[in-house]
């Protein structure tokens, strides 16, 4: 049986009505039904048709996403005609919740926070399988950054894109570089700066810095009670735990806080704006990487093409300079600029040995219990 299009069906109805085969009421009823049917099917049809013309990206917003948009997405759209629809989130758990409650394909690429979060997507079964042959620029990506992902899923769902550290940021008009270096992580529990201390409202960062402050290895913590005691101590001395890069920059630049742990790229941006902010990576400073994760149900060819474009040397360097985080490109294979080489956390060897990343398995094993405890402590428990 031939399938009628909505237009054809309406034309036939109209013919029957004008020929007198149909009453006015029946004609209007059937027309309304056809229109309703067309209206209901449009969103689904639209999405299906738009899939090849648009890719959905969700990231951290702010200067980071502005750089990605300006140096990667806009040129990509100009080159291919494929638009990039963007969304932002302040906390990656927020986007995971949205993904869980949406249909496959509603969210497609996420600027994700490395292996710790990668596990969550894998556990939730929302990750895709990338065809690496479609991303030839993956060959230039640092192998030490790819390996942790491959350990979790031999077939990658994400491609490492940048890395940075969460070090100590301090107001140089109040704290000297010498004092910062001498005290290190202990600055975050220094009573001298009570009411002027900040920190990222995130379990991993809080536990990591409490471990450094109590002389423990963040990847092999022996005394958890001491950690929670230190987290409480910092909480009681802190003015506010910030929850976004914009808030971090605002608190530091307005002098509301004089010391905090902070993201290297955001601090570099403040320094470039002329604010008197120093940055120090204490021994064992928290290093992290970010990746471009493709979710299940995404238009894989377009997503892979976009990520490959983002990994082009020129694009990757421009984004890195814009967002102030070193790219995942191997400096032994690709010539990087002086600006990138001067960025905090940049590793010129490409071996990443100087950076301390969170052990994904160790942290994943403790994540649920520690997050719950951190939630309670942050609320005064």
């Amino acid at each position: 049986m031939m399938k009628l299009s909505t237009t054809k069906r309406l034309e036939r109805l109209h013919d029957r009505y004008t020929n007198g085969d149909l009453s006015r009421r029946t004609f209007l009823t059937l027309t309304a039904a056809a229109a309703a049917s067309a209206g209901l099917s449009t969103p689904w049809m639209g999405r299906a048709l738009a899939a090849a013309k648009e890719v959905r990206f969700d990231g951290w917003g702010g200067v980071v996403q502005e750089a990605i948009d300006k140096y990667a997405f806009q040129p990509y759209t100009a080159k291919t005609g494929v638009g990039v629809v963007q969304g932002t989130f302040g906390d990656e758990n927020e986007i995971i919740t949205k993904i869980k409650t949406s249909k496959p394909g509603d969210f497609q690429i996420v600027h994700s926070s490395g292996v710790n979060y990668y596990i969550k997507y894998v556990n939730a079964g929302v990750n895709s399988e990338i065809n690496e042959a479609n991303i030839p620029n993956l060959a230039n990506v640092l192998q030490p950054m790819i390996e942790p992902f491959r350990k979790l899923t031999p077939k990658l769902s994400a491609v490492p894109y940048d890395y940075g550290t969460t070090g100590l940021a301090y107001n140089t008009t109040v704290i000297s570089p010498e004092e910062a270096k001498e005290k290190g992580a202990a600055l975050l529990s220094d009573k001298k700066y009570a009411g002027k201390i900040g920190g990222y409202a995130d379990m991993t960062t809080r536990v990591w810095y409490a471990a450094l402050d109590t002389g423990q290895d963040p990847n092999n913590i022996k005394d958890m009670e001491a950690i929670w005691a230190k987290v409480r101590e910092t909480r009681d001395l802190a003015k506010k735990f910030w929850s976004s890069g914009a808030e971090l920059m605002d608190l530091l630049s307005k002098g509301e806080i004089v010391v905090t742990d902070g993201w290297s790229g955001r601090i570099a941006a403040l320094q470039q704006q002329g604010h008197p902010i120093g940055y120090l990576d204490p021994t064992g400073s928290y290093a992290w990487m970010e990746d471009m994760l493709i979710l299940k149900g995404s238009p894989m060819a377009e997503c892979e093409e976009l990520i490959n474009f983002m990994l082009e040397t020129d694009t990757s360097i421009a984004v890195a300079e814009g967002q102030n985080y070193p790219p995942s490109l191997d400096p032994t294979k690709v010539e990087l600029t002086d600006k990138i080489k001067a960025l905090p956390a940049f590793d010129p060897t490409g071996a990443m040995k100087s950076l301390t990343f969170a052990d994904p398995v160790y942290w994943a094993d403790n994540e649920d219990a520690w997050t719950k405890q951190w939630d309670r402590i942050s609320k005064g428990a």
């Binding site: 906390d91 758990n93 969550k120 609320k379 428990a381």
Partner: protein
């Protein structure tokens, strides 16, 4: 078509309420039922749960004092906010009702104006008033009345202030509607029988306006106790309310079964309060206050 139907035919009534009834079933009762079922699901790890039924979430809620403390605190903040709203809201409502100002509608319009601005933006505006570099601190510092900025933001007081800002118009409108329903000849009669203005207010106006005040108190209490945004923006972690606990459990810990349990708890507790309240105040009185 309408043959055999009467004006007050029950069948007609059912047909008329059917769309709303269906909406309530599909968009209120069904989601609540799904949430209730979720409370018995098993949390595996962040973002992962199984449908294996368990009482673990309820056991955790019932045995963990952390949750009880937050529930009591939430009810306290809700009650304090509602009472302050009642005290602060009655007088403007009375003034609007009693005034002989020709353009009374302008006063009512002023009450509604705040709703033209986003609730989140209105809440954010308090940061610029109460913050260390906010209007109050800067003024007091410049006047030399204080040496150090006062800590006003990120306190429970700031949260209650934000809630008052949000809820006061609801209280004023409720009381005003109730006052408007009073037959003014009753007050004139009281006066003619020797009552002073104050006595007429105490013996006639106040008792007759109580349904509106009661409805306003219930509305403000339920909305304050269920609030999430205000404590999130104006309070510190310690000033979180039960709604923030639900948010963090679902969005931070990605523990949906426990988050659903906490949601159902808040729903039931507030529902019980509303039921008890209407039981003793009388539903018709509340509805009269809400609807005028």
């Amino acid at each position: 078509m309408t043959r055999g139907w009467t004006l007050y035919d029950p069948r007609l009534a059912w047909i008329l309420v059917a769309p709303v009834l269906l909406l309530l079933i599909f968009f209120l009762l069904l989601p609540i039922a799904v949430m209730a079922v979720y409370t018995f699901f098993t949390f595996v790890t962040a973002g992962v749960e199984t449908s294996a039924l368990t009482l673990a979430n309820w056991h955790e809620f019932l045995t963990d004092a952390y949750y009880h403390g937050f529930l009591i605190k939430t009810l306290r903040v809700g009650a304090v906010t509602a009472l302050i709203c009642g005290v602060l809201g009655y007088f403007p409502a009375y003034f609007i009702w009693a005034t002989t100002f020709k353009h009374k509608w302008l006063l009512l319009l002023l009450l509604i104006v705040p709703f033209w601005i986003s609730f989140t933006i209105r809440t954010f505006s308090w940061i610029h008033i109460l913050g260390e570099q906010g209007l109050i601190n800067v003024t007091l510092l410049k006047l030399g009345l204080i040496d150090q900025p006062m800590q006003m933001l990120y306190t429970e007081g700031a949260v209650i202030m934000g809630l008052l800002h949000f809820l006061l118009p609801y209280m004023i409108l409720n009381v005003y509607v109730s006052l408007e329903g009073i037959d003014r000849t009753l007050i004139a009669a009281a006066r003619s029988m020797g009552c002073t203005s104050a006595q007429a207010f105490r013996e006639v106006t106040l008792p007759l306006s109580l349904p509106g005040l009661a409805a306003g108190l219930l509305l403000c209490f339920v909305l304050a106790a269920g609030s999430y945004v205000t404590p999130q923006l104006l309070g510190s972690g310690r000033d979180a309310l039960f709604g923030n606990l639900i948010y963090d459990t679902i969005m931070g810990q990605l523990n949906w079964p426990m988050g659903a349990t906490l949601s159902i708890v808040l729903f039931v507790v507030l529902g019980c309060f509303a039921a008890l309240y209407t039981r003793y105040m009388g539903m018709s009185q509340i509805v009269k206050g809400l609807g005028g």
